[in-house]
């Protein structure tokens, strides 16, 4: 199967190169990037063919593409890819507006290609075990959920993450979608209402929020919070955390998806002190699943709808922060 990557703007593209190369029968034909400096750099680094325009890449007729452009620029790339007949794995959040997300859906439906949203945490074995535990009723009725997906400021890796016109926002747009998706998936309920507070306490040089706390109400009355802040310093031992505490009537479960790590101190490394994970990479499971869906023609395990609903939670958070009251994400048009 011939697969291409559209844009190296998002830093996850680098991991996906390794993930694709580990799958037998997949040929990574190269990547497109309109930023020549970035194109040359990653072409050399990974020994990959670089296409200066997305059209050039699509002319090679890849069967599937991974779209890792900036959040606000995914729509035209998805439309182009779909029109050329390529199945799409889109980085999250899938878009920065309801209109863009719906246009993407129309494009893939019209072309009859698959669309998968990149939510890798669904492929973490610990997350899957938690979901099974909740489904089995072992915890009893779930009373409360406390979630943390805070991190360092990603602008140190790619400046656009902290530029509103390209990222659609800051910390909330970057992170809240992961836990919003896991909540929908694990508790099998939609998000009924979002209350959020945002601010910029950590970086006066950017014009987006670097702090965001969301307090959701899931359908059926389950309070669930998300800390999406860029509150870890750049010298923190790892990018950040994905944690979730689930309090049930019969017991509690405490998830720390990246708990398995060595403590590593090295001189002259990127981080002097680092938490080096020894788990398998959840991205691998996600990319494997995408390739399997394309190969077998089945519905991908994470759909456009999943990406759309998570994005609406992030958008609702901005509305709530502006209005000071709760916002129902399903009413965002």
């Amino acid at each position: 199967m011939r697969v291409g990557i559209m844009s190296f703007a998002h830093l996850h593209a680098e991991g996906y190169v390794q993930n694709l190369r580990r799958i037998p029968g997949v040929e990574l034909i190269g990547f497109s990037d309109t930023d020549a400096e970035r194109g040359r750099h990653f072409s050399k680094l990974y020994g990959l063919r670089w296409f200066w325009t997305h059209e050039d890449l699509l002319e090679e007729r890849p069967e599937a593409v991974i779209i890792t452009s900036e959040n606000a620029t995914r729509r035209p790339l998805v439309e182009m890819a779909a029109e050329s007949g390529a199945h799409v794995l889109s980085e999250k959040p899938i878009a920065t507006s309801v209109a863009d997300a719906i246009a993407m859906k129309r494009a893939v439906d019209r072309a009859g290609v698959l669309f998968m949203t990149a939510f890798p945490m669904r492929f973490s074995p610990a997350v899957r075990a938690l979901r099974e535990m909740v489904a089995s009723g072992e915890l009893g009725r779930v009373l409360a959920v406390v979630g943390v997906n805070h991190s360092e400021n990603p602008k140190h890796h790619r400046p656009w993450f902290a530029q509103k016109e390209l990222a659609g926002g800051g910390a909330v747009m970057d992170h809240s979608v992961h836990l919003a998706d896991l909540y929908r998936w694990i508790f099998e309920a939609e998000v009924d209402d979002v209350y959020a507070r945002i601010g910029n306490p950590f970086d006066p040089d950017v014009d987006v929020e670097t702090a965001g706390l969301l307090l959701l109400n899931m359908e059926g009355g389950l309070p669930a919070s998300i800390d999406a802040s860029w509150s870890r310093p750049s010298h923190y031992p790892r990018w950040g955390h994905l944690r979730m505490e689930v309090l049930g009537e019969k017991g509690a479960a405490v998830l720390d998806a990246f708990a398995g790590h060595l403590h590593l101190w090295r001189r002259g490394a990127g981080r002097d002190y680092e938490w080096l994970g020894y788990h398998p990479d959840p991205n691998q499971g996600m990319i494997d699943a995408f390739i399997a869906s394309v190969r077998d023609g089945g519905e991908p395990p994470v759909t456009w709808r999943d990406g759309f609903e998570a994005m609406r939670v992030a958008l609702a958070a901005y509305q709530s922060a502006a209005s000071g009251s709760g916002v129902r994400p399903t009413e965002l048009k």
């Binding site: 610990a126 479960a253 405490v254 398995g260 403590h263 590593l264 788990h279």
Partner: protein, 323 residues
């Protein structure tokens, strides 16, 4: 490849569960106690073998999880009948028995894999890779801990049948130290005298390597019931790596605290990857393909010799040269 399992105690159960999860062809089971064989075979939907030779005649590879003092006879019988052997550690009770097992494999043309599972724990493997890649510079001091509560009454508690704690438990870290740093030159060990005369045992050993690196290896069966703690700490002149089983796992559960402690504690590797599955998958793949095992029989023998050296040093109070 048809697999049979012999010895249906704790490790037999762990291995059977791992084979089941990986979808391997585990077909038959045997235990010296026919009632245990019947119950186990029923539970795992296997053919119950009335005796060991019947088991061997129905499989291509046998996974031997019987007590250590039976390993020599179990392995020799399997090789004589043309069956490959996956043997739970330790290889044997003595170095001479270990050598007999290895030569029986060689003479029969069959293969022997000794299940040194710590090499398949992802955190131990990652730390070893860091050392090999030179990320830590020259290793100066390595610390390895493996402490558990005393095993339940039975052959484990009898050093004449289990080899005692160094041969049964500490051997994991002695093998790991040797895997990462190579063969040591000398071993000096002290056993806690306050525990003498009981089934409890706690030993600390200092290993010295030819290049000057040192290792402190701690092993014990003296912790309160329910505890099994392991850790590694490798310090080089350019980097340091630490890990401890005290770190929280990826998923913890909090239920009412009145559950009974486990019968025999095994370290949990976390949910992400089961080291027993990784280990047995490796053994089966190497058997299929003819590729060499990551743990050669000679490595298992060298680890046993180190464990025996630790025991001898603790007994004599003298340094044992092992180079």
């Amino acid at each position: 490849m048809r697999i049979g399992i012999a010895g249906l105690g704790t490790m037999g159960r762990v291995h059977a569960a791992a084979y089941r999860r990986m979808g391997a062809r585990l077909v038959a089971a045997y235990d010296a106690d026919p009632a245990v064989t019947e119950r186990f075979a029923g539970e795992f939907e296997l053919e119950p073998a009335p005796d060991y030779e019947s088991l061997l005649r129905s499989v291509d590879v046998v996974d031997v999880c019987t007590p250590t003092f039976t390993h020599l006879e179990m392995a020799e019988t399997a090789f004589a009948l043309g069956v490959d052997v996956i043997l739970e550690k330790p290889l044997a009770l003595t170095a001479s028995e270990g050598r007999q097992i290895i030569s029986a494999a060689r003479e029969s043309g069959r293969r022997l894999f000794v299940a040194m599972v710590v090499r398949f724990f992802p955190q131990y493997r990652k730390a070893a890779e860091l050392v090999r890649a030179g990320e830590l510079g020259r290793v100066g001091v390595m610390r390895l801990k493996r402490v558990a509560f005393p095993p339940a009454a039975g052959w484990f508690r009898d050093p004449a049948r289990s080899g005692g704690m160094p041969v049964d438990l500490m051997i994991h870290d002695l093998d790991y130290a040797r895997w990462v740093l190579g063969q040591p030159a000398s071993v000096f060990a002290r056993r806690s005298p306050a525990l003498e005369g009981s089934a409890l045992e706690h030993v600390q050993a200092v290993l010295e390597f030819p290049n000057g690196a040192l290792a402190l290896v701690e092993g014990g069966w003296a912790y309160p019931p329910g505890y099994f703690r392991t850790s590694l700490d490798i310090a080089g002149d350019r980097g340091l790596v630490e890990w401890s089983s005290d770190q929280p796992p990826p998923l913890q559960t909090l239920f009412p605290k009145d559950a009974p402690p486990p019968a025999l504690g095994l370290p949990m590797a976390g949910l992400e990857e089961d080291p027993y599955e990784l280990e047995l998958r490796h053994a089966l793949e190497a058997l299929e393909s003819g590729a060499p095992f990551e743990v050669a029989p000679e490595d298992a023998l060298a680890a046993l010799e180190l464990a025996l050296a630790v025991r001898a040093s603790a007994d004599s109070g003298k340094v044992v040269e092992v180079a």
